[in-house]
């Protein structure tokens, strides 16, 4: 004996084309004699029709992919830049004089040890962080 809750499950299988032939013939026989289940079937069909307009896709935002630089690497890069900056500041501030014999040699040494442009390094670091934040960012183009 099949109870009504099982017929409800069969109605779902039937409407979505997921019913076996045996269960379908069982359901159809039952529907022929059960007014309540026929009404349930009609109502479920109506509900599916109500949902029809929702199948239109919504205007969707656009995903922008960017290269990812992981946070540990960005932090390591920052630390290296900082240490390099510190080292060069100390080096420039306290030049070693041992072994230098005359002022021309000092000038030559300082020219060779010209430090790099740290502002560029720091900008690079900021760019990495921006990329981290912006990774997989979604641009809202609905407006």
């Amino acid at each position: 004996m099949v109870d009504h809750s099982e017929y409800k499950r069969m109605i779902v299988e039937f409407l979505y084309g997921e019913i076996t032939p045996q269960r379908e013939s069982l359901l159809l026989r039952h529907l022929a004699q059960c007014e309540e289940c026929r009404r349930e079937l009609r109502e479920i069909r109506q509900a599916r029709e109500i949902l029809q307009p929702l199948r239109n896709p919504a205007p969707s935002p656009r995903v922008v992919l960017k290269e990812r630089v992981s946070l540990p690497w960005a932090a390591a890069l920052f630390l290296l830049s900082f240490l390099f900056l510190l080292f060069n500041l100390i080096y420039r501030g306290l030049p070693r004089t041992e072994g230098l014999r005359n002022p021309s040699q000092i000038t030559e040494t300082l020219e060779i040890k010209e430090p790099p442009d740290f502002s560029v390094l720091l900008e690079d670091y900021e760019a990495y962080f921006l990329q981290e934040e912006d990774y997989l960012s979604i641009e809202d183009n609905r407006r």
Binding site: S5, K8, R9, I11, V12, E13, Y16, E18, E40, E43, I44, Q46, A47, R48, I50, L51, P53, L54, R55, N56, P57, A58, P59, S60, P61, R62, V63, L65, Y135, L136, S137, I138, D140, R142
Partner: protein, 169 residues
């Protein structure tokens, strides 16, 4: 969606991963929007799901199960958003027409467990078996829940329609 793209992305091929993301993003956004009823939350969830997917794809054992796996992630993220949300912020999007707006509003009035099952079946077109895997519930429960969810949706739709246009003669 070919299994080949998933396999390539799983191997770490950047182009394949980009294609996966571009192809699935609109579907996930639609799903999240219709579930959460709020475009900002839908964008956040979509972004989070795609991010998790890009990080976890290598762990997916069976590439043919990609869509079921992706929607399991989406359901988790949507539920997390629901828990965080203190108040109802659903609103009918401007682009929707009359019938679509009413259907959308009726959907938002359902409890989340009914809404999710309707969206997975009616909008995303998953089979009962796939939904049972996405939601980790038995197939029999999927069928019963879907039956009662559709009945509830119809009732809410008719109520909203009556409020908007009056009782039909």
């Amino acid at each position: 969606m070919s299994k080949e793209i998933v396999v390539k992305a799983k191997r770490g091929e950047k182009k394949a991963m980009e294609r996966l993301i571009r192809e699935w993003q609109p579907r996930l956004y639609n799903f999240a929007l219709k579930h959460l009823g709020n475009p900002d939350d839908a964008v956040d969830v979509t972004q989070q799901v795609l991010f998790i997917m890009s990080r976890q794809l290598k762990k997916l054992r069976e590439p043919s199960a990609f869509s079921v796996w992706l929607y399991s992630i989406a359901m988790n993220e949507i539920r997390k958003t629901w828990r965080k949300r203190r108040e109802e912020v659903a609103e009918v999007p401007d682009y929707m027409g009359e019938k679509e707006g009413l259907a959308f509003a009726a959907l938002q009035l359902l409890p989340p467990h009914q809404r999710e099952i309707i969206l997975l079946k009616e909008i995303e077109g998953f089979s009962v078996k796939e939904i049972s895997e996405i939601l980790s519930i038995p197939e029999g429960t999927v069928k019963s829940r879907l039956f009662y969810a559709l009945k509830a949706l119809r009732a809410q739709y008719l109520r909203l329609k009556e409020e908007a246009y009056g009782r039909p003669q």
